[in-house]
Amino acid sequence: MASLKRNFLKIDHVDKVFSQRGTASEVLKDINLTVDEGEFVAIIGHSGCGKSTLLNLVAGLTKVSSGVILLEDQEVNTPGPDRAVVFQNHSLLPWLTVFDNVNLAVDKVFGKTKSKKERRDWTLHNLDLVQMGHAKDKRPSEISGGMKQRVGIARALAMQPKVLLLDEPFGALDALTRAHLQDSLMQIHVNLGNTVIMITHDVDEAVLLSDRIVMMTNGPSAHIGDVLDIALPRPRKRLELASHPAYLAAREAVLKFLYERNRFVEAA
């Protein structure tokens, strides 16, 4: 792979204020973060800390109140396929088949640059990438939650995004399915070298998958409390890591941040 760009994505002094009926509530305060190309960054924090808002800002679905987000030195302020999102609840269109759901994105992004056959093949290739080629003619209602999420990932990958944004993609899945999908995602990340930002509230998931963990303080006015580098070698194996000292240390550091320094007050 060609030399990876440093500071590929830059979140610079970003604030987000939601105002509703005259009362303004500051959700995010002074967020600064840079992500290198090919890096896998997990953002972790208690629910309601604004981590999903941060992802929506990068996706362009919500506008920043102040500050700026730069992707390859271009300002981000509208949504676009260069920042594909995998949504928490898959967001597949129920009236389209698995194939058509992915192909809709492929047609839109590559409609001018690829022939119809190439687009079709590209869709099938991405479905194979997440092991969903066999279900291409099924509708979302006919496949399981984990499979839907796989298709959601295929749809995002098929757009060849500069940054892949994952909004708690496995949050609604059972533990075993989640582990399968995490393994698949790791494999894809190793193969394709995508730049990934993933929102999660699962400590193990964050440590297992990411190069860096960004820990958010509790809202309102949430900011980045700490950033932890995960220096574990890749490819990572779930079972081998379970007793790896660096893995355990990282896990402990995140847990300490979440439960000692930033206890979730409402959950008490």
Binding site: M1, A2, E37, A59, G60, L61, T78, P79, G80, P81, R83, A84, V85, F87, N89, S91, L93, P94, W95, L96, L104, A105, K108, V109, H125, D128, L129, G133, R139, P140, S141, M159, Q160, K162, N191, L192, G193, N194
Partner: protein, 302 residues
Amino acid sequence: MGLALHTTNTDGQDSRPPIAVAAPIVVKFASQRRPIWGKLASLGMGLLRKVVPPLVTVAILLLIWQLLCEKPGASLPPPSTVWAQAQDLILHPFFDYGSQDIGLGWRVLVSLERVAFGFGLAAIAGVLLGALIGQSDWAMRGLDPVFQILRTVPPLAWLPIALAAFRDSRPSAIFVIFITSIWPIIINTAVGIRNIPQDYRNVAAVLRLNHFEFFWRIMLPSAAPYIFTGLRIGIGLAWLAIVAAEMLTGGVGIGFFIWDAWNSSRIPDIIVALAYIGIVGFVLDRLVSALGTLAARGTPAN
């Protein structure tokens, strides 16, 4: 981004030994006869269960009607008289003996043609206006009060205005159909579009779908169940209105036939025409409903 794509090898997946495939087929042939007969029998039973009760009900109603209207001096004819005097209308819907002496099938078709025009226009305009109202808060605030008032105006109240505007009975009848059936289509479409989940809007935003693509790929399928509810109410109202409109505008339609029969005191003919209208209305309703089920395939009922 440099892509080192791993192609999954799908070769050799279908290289099962042919014998293993052939064996189950032989077994299937032997055991397939019975299920087919069984299926037919259960299908027949299902049909029987659906068809017999309404037939019995109709028979009882006819009997009561016969008993009530049989006595001399009764103001309405009993079924036996209707059968005797209007037999040609019942048995031959498509006879044609000249300008006004034609079967009820032809008349229904003429009325249906008007409904098709009026309702078709109403469906197109209603879905577009409904989409506008559903999408835009300002369009909603501006148009909704006007629509709420206009929709309560009875169909026939529009007819004189339409006659004055178009100076012809045919476009007037079509206009009455249009204006009667458009309101439920607009309102239901607007509700359906307001209920499009934010997730689908986000998907559209990330994909940068343009307005037309969003309308065609997201809005219409997502709102389809609502739209077809509106269309179903609309076609019912349209069929109600055409009969009344034709009574006043004349021509060849089924509504005018009833008015004409009343003026020449052919009560049995009116009764037969009523049955035609009822059956056609029922079929129209079922048709739109079936189309709706087809169009809303895969969409969760919400």
